[in-house]
Symmetry: C2
């Protein structure tokens, strides 16, 4: 795998631009993937992430039971597979097999990472208080992996049914903040 | 103002790609703006949005007291002003005046909209249970306004200190979902 361990204090910069993510989980050794983009950073260190996962999704059940997942960030080449994973249910399909994705053993959680994604964030559920009301899980990123060769990843951003935006030009605006 | 009322059920498509937003508020008739990008959709209809606003920000105090704000979405032309608003504090500066932005009267909340932003979402706080633990406010969008001439808005996406990504190409990937 081309990914290397990535500093936890920089994780916010991966998720803040709002990419589509592929959340991988495992239940009794059986892996699953769901595609979504309802997530937000909640704190820098340790990195906390809020993820809204509908209780109609199989991933909701697995996450509630295991308390572990991996947030994987795909780039443009994976767009079709990401959408495909979003259209199938892990209750009946092994999505790693069906979409030709590679499960890679994670270091801190039992859920596998997705080898083809340029970044993978191993996560543990740290707060379920908003799960009943809003399907909102608070996750802590316990280890992050990023492919250091991907300097300018073309991430995928959902704009509504069938429509996505690919990340574009870089803009630098100096801040006065320290 | 060029903005028209926008259907609430389509609001998710504005926020899901993860743009930098400018949150406007008002306390006793005095308006304020803060720039941020820690937000996520939480539900479609009515549109619910989770926003993480640090308790060190003046906007945190105003939002706690008034329970109202407007989420404004800037495009590339406003990048410098958006960063400038993020670097100043509304405790000492009237940011509308300091950055040459136009407060526009909203219809359902007392906070003003930012005239120059292509979209403005009038919001009310509907849940503060996660404010103490995570600075996380749950907002309901009660009215949305979008400039219909902006078919392909170049939104701004934060990638870490001083670095932003502008929204790029559109990609269509047909979904099997109904």
């Amino acid at each position: 795998m081309a990914k290397k361990i990535f500093p936890l204090e920089k994780v916010y910069a991966l998720l803040e631009p709002g990419p589509v993510i592929m959340v991988s989980t495992a239940l009794k050794g059986r892996p699953n993937i769901m595609t979504m983009s309802w997530h937000t950073m909640i704190d820098f260190v340790p990195p906390l992430v809020g993820c809204v996962i509908s209780d109609r999704n199989y991933t909701f059940d697995i996450l509630k039971r295991t308390g572990e997942c991996v947030i994987n960030i795909p780039t443009a080449e994976l767009a079709k597979k990401a959408v495909g994973c979003g259209n199938a249910s892990g209750r009946t399909v092994d999505k790693f097999k069906a979409f030709g994705l590679t499960p890679v053993k994670a270091s801190r959680v039992k859920a596998p990472m997705i080898g083809e994604c340029y970044a993978s964030l191993e996560c543990k559920v740290v707060n379920k208080k908003m799960v009943n009301a809003y399907d909102l899980f608070i996750l802590e990123v316990v280890r992050a992996w990023v492919d250091p060769r991907k300097k300018d990843p073309r991430t995928i951003h959902h704009r509504g049914k069938d429509v996505f935006m690919l990340s574009g030009k870089t803009l630098r605006v100096p801040s006065q903040m320290k």
